[in-house]
């Protein structure tokens, strides 16, 4: 049986916590609604290290995420605090009852271990939940509400460029055969419904690539594959795409004029030459060579 003094004490605690938190969250809400998002973005910009445009991009985005939270999450919290304050007479017995029930359920032998375990799980869980919310704030600059196709997340810069080029240079129903020393899963994913076909070297099947070509994967050069293999899936285009030091052929990096034009425009540099080999050839043209 819960004693009335405990419930009264709990009511007081709920009232104080609800009022303090509610007032704070209301102030935060006011800040969110009174100031435009640019103020938050500017604040983010000022937190970023100077001369680091990537960090500035991230911090501006984080400022924007914080503004969204001030505008929409904080009022929800304030409303919940208001609800708690109004209903504290009903809430207090439930909270006290719950605490007493935990105490009773974890009583007996090794009760200290059980109670500490429950407390530890809750504390660690709360710390991680706060960390999760902060992680979403950090994610916001990159993702916002854009689709994966727009963002191309966790894709290398070179992969990204190749995907963009193939998206604009080939029709959606095309089948593309690619000879490459790269794992092409993300190309396949973002280029679909274009079908990406590739003959994988058996020695590369179970190897995981490393960042910045840290691991050279075994691969077939295009001229090492028979015409039968290349044409098996009736491709509309043939691509050569090699980034690893064992396969790049610098003298061929300027071979595909359209690709060169695209990548130079992309880099806003008329003399830019990509550090990797990429060529796109229609199958009919490739056959005639």
């Amino acid at each position: 049986m819960t004693s009335p003094p405990r419930i009264e004490r709990c009511q007081s605690i709920i009232a104080v916590v609800a009022v303090v938190t509610g007032v704070l969250l209301s102030l935060v809400t006011c800040v969110g609604w009174l100031f435009p998002v640019e103020v938050f973005q500017d604040w983010g910009f000022r937190q970023a290290p100077q001369n680091d445009p990537y960090a500035q991009f991230e911090f501006v985005g984080r400022g924007e995420a914080v503004w969204w939270m001030c505008c929409f999450l904080a009022p929800l919290g304030a409303a919940a605090c208001g609800f708690l304050f109004v209903k504290r007479v009903n809430v207090a017995p439930v909270v006290v009852g719950a605490i007493e029930e935990i105490a009773s359920l974890t009583s007996g032998r090794f009760s200290v271990v059980r109670r500490l375990a429950v407390l530890a799980v809750i504390l660690i869980g709360v710390v991680h939940l706060v960390g999760g919310v902060w992680q979403r704030v950090k994610d916001w600059p990159y993702y916002r509400l854009n689709s994966g196709e727009t963002v191309l997340p966790n894709v290398s810069e070179s992969n990204r460029e190749v995907i963009r080029y193939l998206q604009q240079s080939t029709p959606e129903e095309a089948t593309i055969f690619i000879a490459s020393d790269q794992k092409l899963y993300f190309l396949s994913y973002y280029l679909w419904p274009r079908k990406v076909v590739h003959r994988m070297h058996p020695d590369a099947e179970h190897l995981i690539p490393r960042a910045n070509q840290g691991r050279q994967l075994a691969a077939y050069r295009l001229n090492e594959l028979s015409e039968g293999v290349v044409l098996q899936g009736q491709p509309d285009f043939i691509v050569e795409y090699f980034e690893g030091p064992d396969f790049v052929e610098p003298e061929r990096h300027t071979e595909d004029a359209r690709w060169l034009h695209f990548t130079r425009e992309n880099h806003r540099d008329a003399n830019y030459t990509p550090p990797f080999l990429f060529t796109l050839t229609p199958t009919a043209e490739w056959k005639s060579r």
């Binding site: 006290v96 375990a117 590739h198 899936g233």
Partner: protein
């Protein structure tokens, strides 16, 4: 109608289908267990249904997916109306008053579920496995409208693990069919739904055994495990590890329920365990090993469990267990059998072929790898608690503090199951055709996600309030509550 709204209707349709299935199973109460099982059954029922439909030549797409959703929602609505009318005529027994602890925990769990849903939908699919293995298959299924697509059978088509199961791709395809296009961010809704289903089902089943308060507290401990949520590779992503945790955890939950020999457990628990175990097989290849572990763990628990000391007890319990066990085995064999028939037609590119590679000579040859993999695994489970949570410390604490309870059949089942699944990982590390440290080092944390629900079930059942001294031998059949 925007695609987000259509996704929401699709998600409601999944729950409605699950609700129809739980009603068919006689779970008619509106409690946490029924709703938790409904959510998970809805997702697996949809994927299995679409798979079998396409297997026999049906065309996937908007017609069949919308049809399924409308049919399910209509049935649930009809049932609701019928129930409301009956309520007016009949005097319903008052439901058990929920404990205060259950009320508080349920509120917190509700907030966690909403948090998981929002956080999950804040990012598109962005990790390796979720795109390279699962989402690419979902895109192909959406465009090609059949599991027999020549694209999926082409060994040169670029996808990782062509033989990997189709439960997640089919569920995502189902939502694409609702949205009318590929929106991989919104298709992620199924993952926090599985989180909700798992946690609610735990709350309900533990509540049946130990009282509502303890059930809800156990479910809260599970829901607060950081590696499940908000860790990025858990239920917030489109990776298959957390869904495996859900299906594997629920299969073990209902097998454990079965092995407590409570009157309310029985054929339904056997059937549910079978459905969840089959769905684990249909989610990731680890499910095959898990099924083998389930069978071995049940056998060992029955043989070595404390209550089996007298031959009479063992024989009588085997007799009681025969039908539900047959139902469990039959369900898994039937469903997984159809999947394996289809799997044979898929190419082998990048497959590790663990089962084909296991041999005594290879195991002996690779024995020294345990010198690295066991310390690595212990480190992941125990020393890295700041990142993954303290669940494995709790398992140890629960084992030590209630050692005598571990001798009971149901608890032994959980222990053998945990040991078996951990051993399966070590064996996989021994036989995989990949660099050990890179292979295991990059995957143990995700593999352990799959075992977390079993670990928490062990803790909650070890520390749960004492059950009645006499175990009930004999089940009711699948009955309406």
């Amino acid at each position: 109608m925007s695609h987000v709204l259509r996704m929401a209707i699709g998600a409601i349709g999944l729950v409605a289908l699950g609700r129809c299935l739980t009603l068919l199973l006689g779970m008619k109460r509106d409690d946490a267990e029924s709703w938790g099982v409904s959510v998970v059954l809805g997702i697996l029922g949809t994927s299995w249904g679409l798979f079998l439909y396409s297997f026999v030549g049906g065309t996937l797409g908007a017609v069949v997916s919308w049809g399924l959703t409308i049919f399910s929602i209509t049935l649930v609505a009809v049932d609701y109306v019928r129930k409301t009318q009956n309520r007016k005529q009949e005097v319903q027994p008052r439901p058990d008053p929920p404990s205060e602890l259950a009320v508080v925990c349920t509120w917190i769990i509700g907030v966690l579920i909403v948090g998981a849903l929002v956080q999950s939908l804040l990012t598109p699919q962005r990790f390796w496995d979720e795109r390279a293995i699962f989402a690419i298959k979902a895109k192909v299924l959406w465009t090609e409208k059949t599991i027999h697509s020549p694209v999926l059978r082409n060994p040169d088509f670029v996808q990782y693990h062509p033989k990997y199961p189709l439960l997640i791709p089919l569920a995502e395809q189902h939502l694409y069919a609702h949205m009318g296009g590929v929106h991989d961010r919104w298709a992620k809704v199924i993952f926090p739904m599985m989180y909700a289903g798992l946690v609610l089902a735990f709350s309900g089943v533990l509540g049946r055994h130990f009282g509502r308060g303890w059930g809800a507290l156990g479910a809260l401990l599970l829901a607060l495990t950081p590696v499940l949520m908000p860790y990025e590779y858990g239920f917030l992503s489109g990776q298959a590890d957390a869904p495996m945790g859900c299906f594997h955890g629920m299969a073990v939950l209902y097998l454990w329920d079965l092995l407590t020999f409570r009157p309310e457990s029985g054929m339904r628990s056997g059937l549910l365990a079978g459905l969840f175990a089959a769905s684990a097989v249909f989610t990731k290849d680890e499910g095959i090993a898990f099924f083998m572990v389930h069978c071995a763990a049940v056998g060992l628990a029955l043989l070595l469990g404390r209550s089996q000391s007298s031959p009479r007890g063992l024989v009588s319990k085997l007799h009681v267990l025969a039908k539900p066990a047959a139902l469990f085995l039959g369900t898994v064999s039937l469903l997984a059998g159809v999947w394996f028939l289809h799997r044979r037609t898929l190419p082998d590119t990048t497959e590790m072929s663990y089962f084909g590679r296991v041999s005594v000579s290879l195991l002996i040859e690779r024995l020294p790898t345990l010198g690295w993999s066991i310390p690595h695994l212990l480190s992941r489970m125990l020393w890295e608690w700041r990142t993954w949570g303290i669940q494995w410390w709790l398992v140890l604490a629960a084992l030590v503090t209630e050692f005598r309870k571990c001798l009971q059949t149901s608890q032994q089942f959980l222990l053998w199951n945990l040991l078996g699944t951990v051993a399966a990982l070590l064996v996989a590390g021994m036989v995989a055709p990949a660099e050990l440290e890179e292979h295991l080092g990059g995957s143990t944390h995700r593999y352990l996600i799959q075992l977390v629900p079993v670990g928490i079930l062990f803790v909650a059942s070890q520390w749960g309030p004492m059950r009645p001294a006499t175990e009930n031998v004999g089940y009711g059949t699948v009955t309406a509550e």
